[in-house]
Amino acid sequence: MKRSWALYAAAVAGYLFLYVPLVIVVVYSFNDSRLNAEWVGFTFDWYRRLFANDEMIQAAVNSLAIAAVASLVSTVLGTMAGFAMHRYRSRLLPVLVLTPIAIPEILMGVSLLLFFVLLNFTLGIVSVTLAHIAFCIGFVAIVVRSRLAGMDESLTEAARDCGATPAQAFRLVTLPLIMPAVIAGALMAFTLSIDDFVITFFTAGAGTQTLPLQIYSMIKISVTPEVNAVSTLLMLLTLVLIVLASKLAPGALRTS
């Protein structure tokens, strides 16, 4: 089909709009100047400062720990939800799984804040993790359900007809077949958790820092290349996870 130059130009402009800002963040993280204004010279100073910043290290450790637990639990629960949504006709489950994704994040943040405070549940790493699990379940469930929808159902049936219990049929036939989607879902959940700002902001309380919260408080005060450095590392981590997830379950990332 003939493509016009105008379409090309507009699309290239679109890609530039998406990537130039991120490239600028990365480039200035190596810039030997306090101002993110012009290129002065190459340095690793901002990274060195980052690794000497105890608060930042603590925030990174918190973020990784929360993401590890949240992705693990939400992958198990999300896989169950995806399986249940595929196999059984339920009205309530899809609503509970999909609404958290469809409404603005702040709503889940403030309602969980109310919930934890009324229960006298101390805000901190645990409350953040519980909140992250709740919003990650939906993403995992969607990926798993779409994999199940594309799967040949007769394989599981054959297993059942041959005398497998439902648990055996799931463990020996269904699970290996949907494994790539499950792993992709886990990687997505990890990424969503480590990147989440809004829900964390409301459920973390005063004393707990995560990387996004740390970045937020830094950029509220001033723009410093240290933020560029931590941003670059965080982007690198997400890039690896997401490219990996997209290899395991092509199309999975579009479900959001």
Partner: protein
């Protein structure tokens, strides 16, 4: 759409009996079909259902109840029961209804989200169209390139615009190099409504590209050939064939951009000036600074109602139609 069997499969026959509760394939697997519907179902759907009831549905219900309580003496909530009777009031709702300032904030948020949606549509359309018309083997890669920025941290993407629009940036200096000789005051790009809109568009763009691409990819190129054979030029082919067919994708994308854009607070917080207060900022303020939780809950409930109504509307407008 692939026919999706639920219990068992009988290739080639869709089973209308399914809806009536009698699976057409039930007879094929009499031994385990019925049992699966019982305990197995609750073993699998029970845990995620329970989790989401506790950590999503109950907090939402608490918020509804909180919206009807008076504020506590030291912020937060007043006790629900006092002197043996329920302590309920419509105070917070009356406050919202009675003060036009809040309605202005809602209106402003709707306008910002609307402009964001339109800008995203204009930017996303050529992107989605180019990818949809690329050779099949490149499409996945090109789409991955659109989605990747979405998966990088939200704050980093907003921060990038702090750098680009900041007073020392090349862009700001270039703009002022043009503006100042003309006798105008130097312009500040950052901390303005413009910066907020740029941030909103940038963050939400992938949400528009995805559904548009999913729609455009399915178009039959023969339609455009036919239009061309009948004498339509490129402009007419777009407005009379491609665009009308893509409307379900446009509506889906509009919902995916508009709804989250409506509740955002961090972008006005970081990129906006003092007048750029949106609903999200108001809600955050009520919960964390003023600590008037009942009023914060009322604002959140109104926002939820708007979001759900719009999501329903978009689903209704873009529903599959037989005559399309």
């Amino acid at each position: 759409m692939r026919w999706k069997p639920r219990g068992g499969s009988m290739p080639g026959t869709s089973s209308p009996a399914e809806g009536a509760g009698v699976s057409a394939s039930g007879a094929r697997h009499p031994s385990w079909q019925a049992r699966d519907r019982g305990t197995g179902r609750w073993l699998v759907s029970g845990p995620p259902l329970a989790y989401l009831l506790v950590f999503f549905a109950i907090p939402a219900l608490i918020m509804v109840v909180a919206s009807f309580t008076p504020p506590g003496e030291y912020g937060g909530l007043a006790p629900l029961f006092e002197d043996g009777k329920a302590n309920l009031t419509l105070e917070a709702y009356e406050r919202l209804a009675g003060d036009p300032i809040y309605w202005e904030v809602f209106a402003k948020s709707v306008v910002y989200a609307g402009i964001t949606t339109l800008c995203c549509l204009v930017l996303a359309y050529p992107l989605a169209m180019l990818v949809a018309r690329s050779p099949r083997k490149y499409r996945d890669l090109l789409m991955l390139l659109v989605i990747l920025p979405f998966w990088s941290n939200f704050l980093i993407r907003v921060y990038a615009w702090m750098i680009i629009l900041g007073p020392q940036s090349a862009l700001s200096r270039a703009v002022n190099a043009v503006v100042e000789p003309l006798g105008f005051e130097p312009v500040s790009l950052l901390f303005s409504s413009f910066a907020v809109l740029v941030g909103l568009v940038y963050v939400h763009l992938p949400f528009m590209v995805l559904p548009l691409y999913a729609n455009l990819e399915k178009h039959d190129p023969a339609l455009l050939d036919a239009a061309q054979d009948l004498g339509a030029n490129a402009w007419q082919r777009f407005w009379r064939v491609t665009f009308p067919l893509s409307l379900p994708g446009v509506w889906a994308g509009a919902a995916l951009v508009f709804i989250p854009a409506l509740g955002i607070f961090a972008i006005p917080d970081i990129l906006g000036g003092t007048e750029d207060t949106l609903i999200g900022n108001l809600i955050k303020q009520q919960f964390l600074e003023t600590r008037d939780w009942p009023f914060g809950s009322v604002l959140s409930i109104v926002l939820t109602a708007i979001a759900l109504a719009l999501a329903g509307l978009a689903a209704w407008v873009s529903r599959p139609r037989r005559t399309a």
